[in-house]
Symmetry: C2
């Protein structure tokens, strides 16, 4: 860790690889010899074409996407996708199945219902306070898609495997675990991810769409809300958020060239989360809140013996240079988000701090 930097456990916006930040800084007043900042170059220039094309190519290589998939960049975050998905895919009156695993799934469901789309919630872990992923799902054979949230940032649960839907395309919000592990993309018709957790800064959402999902999108949707607008124009129908896409490109380059791909990234993420969960399980001062088999490798949620101690823990950690450990405002408790860019050193420093804190307060 460099001087004046903290260990960043924020849930999003979150830590970025330090080498990426340094590269942005170094070239900030003169991008790629252009004599302009990345924030000043035209999106219709060779410079920016190279940026966005490289980001797309790296995404395809990292996720091993075949030629049926298109990689798009859309503004508005995952929240905009919550409304665009039913608008684009359910225009013909078809229904879709949704799995409810927490706040973000619920918002996706809410936005589909706002549009009077005939969707069905086929499973929910609400009764278990969203501490687990539902099992034994039954799908409606006529569903256009099955929507699920692959990782639940707030409650700290994650789908370890994806269900067999019998051929119905999966549509998944992967905002908080995209590129954290290899993916069997055959099951997916549409994947989307706000960049600000694992692959970049806020202000850009990556969307990956399979050819067949582009059929039946109505022509008369607003241009900016129609996936075909983005596929037709390489995500540049209007001015894209150049800086955000550039940062995503650099993070993907770091994933490929520094980390060595998603198998390697998964192993590192496994090691980081093992360290934390094994530490919890070795005592009873810190308690993990998610069901063991459904624990997230990205967002590690935990409680201390009481709320006062939790407050002290978060405040003292911050003083020691460990930031972002407060749980989501809707649920309280503590949370360490350990996305791709959070280092093994950061996790070890956190465990060291937790041991000391327990000794002094246990």
């Amino acid at each position: 860790m460099h001087k004046n930097r903290i260990y960043n456990f924020n849930a999003g916006p979150a830590a970025l690889p330090e080498t990426v930040l340094e590269e942005i800084r170094e070239s900030f007043l003169n991008f790629d010899g252009s004599g302009m900042s990345i924030t000043e170059i035209s999106h219709r220039s060779k410079w920016f074409d190279d940026v966005i094309n490289d980001a797309v190519a790296r995404t395809k290589r990292l996720l091993k996407l075949d030629e049926h998939f298109h990689v798009l960049f859309i503004q508005g975050g995952a929240s905009m996708q919550f409304c665009m998905i039913p608008m684009n895919f359910l225009a013909d009156g078809k229904s879709a199945d949704y799995v409810d695993t927490g706040t973000w799934s619920s918002k996706a469901i809410h936005e589909a219902r706002l549009q009077d789309k005939p969707i069905q919630v086929i499973a929910s872990s609400k009764e278990e306070n969203y501490s687990c992923i539902p099992e034994n799902l039954q799908f409606n054979a006529d569903a256009r898609y099955v929507h699920l949230t692959s990782n639940n940032t707030i409650k700290g649960t994650q789908w370890a495997d994806f269900p067999d839907t019998g051929g119905i395309p999966l549509v998944s919000d992967m905002s908080s675990d995209i590129m954290s592990r290899p993916l069997d993309t055959d099951k997916f018709g549409f994947i989307y991810a706000g960049a600000q957790k694992n692959i970049g800064p806020a202000g850009i959402c990556m969307a990956i769409i399979r050819d067949d999902m582009l059929e039946n999108i109505p022509d008369n949707l607003p241009s900016m809300l129609k996936y075909t607008t983005y596929t037709a124009k390489n995500s540049m129908y209007n001015t894209p958020p150049c800086f955000s896409i550039y940062t995503v490109q650099l993070v993907l380059k770091w994933l490929e060239e520094t980390i060595g791909g998603l198998d390697k990234m998964e192993a590192i993420n496994q090691e980081k989360s093992d360290i934390l969960y094994n530490f919890f399980d070795s005592g009873d001062f810190y308690r993990g809140t998610a069901k063991l088999s459904d624990r997230s490798k990205m967002n590690v949620t935990f409680r201390l013996p009481d709320e006062e101690l939790e407050k002290t823990f978060v405040a003292l950690a911050m003083e020691e240079g460990l930031g972002g450990l407060k749980g989501h405002r809707s649920v309280g408790g503590c949370r360490a988000s350990i996305y791709n860019a959070t280092t093994l050193s950061a996790v070890k420093a956190l465990v060291d701090f937790m041991k000391t804190f327990e000794r002094q307060n246990g």
Copy 2:
């Protein structure tokens, strides 16, 4: 101009004040003592609250907005506003008047019609190849609003004054001239501006909405497409594009503290555009394309004697460190965009180059 930087006449994304770029660079790995980059801090933190609140406060001071106006930040650029405006303001079947002054007005009209809204195009300069602003407008008394594009980036025309609508709120796309001059905001119900020309980088649109325009917005619109979502949550219903808003904040600070406000900015912009137009008018090698009274002070469009010369002009200028002088791909010719951040020195350097080029090719 610093070493390795060019004079940037891009139409957008465009030049930013060099001191703003330097400030971003200096604090890029440690924003405001947080130990994190601006791209890594939580949007729910005191740090980011200060950024967005300062951006809002500066906007209100610079434009002298009274308490009836709300300043919002929305993703998707002006193009997203083209669909949101009719969606929000014409839900009850009311009509609106649109003035057509070029590509961007036409797109706004197209997006309203896609939604089957009963809008009327009350005037157009299409027959004049959009080289002027229509005069003697007649408004429909029952129009919910009158939409116009205050400055036309592609054709280089600008509304010098805004029409008296007899109380119908003006709705204006000010993407390419917001904050370039003081504004009599009394006439406006809604103002919007993609930031990437005069106030920041791509990826954020500023929207200014008057209280009365918030009435009658239907509750059942998608959350991300409803202005009331943004007013209720200080533009942070979901994760906002933090970096882009931060850059806007710094540009607004530069406008207030370095330039000294919009009267001063207008005087500088007047001087810059006078230099260019007076130079055109003193000879016949370079010909301005817009009607004299409607010439834009932001986008100076011009032609050379023939297209081959124009190509040589643009290429040679680039070699001399003067970038972005090619006209929009839809119309050809040349264009010098001289937004707020384009300096007087840049304009003088351009005129010097033009004189030399004319001597050698005239």
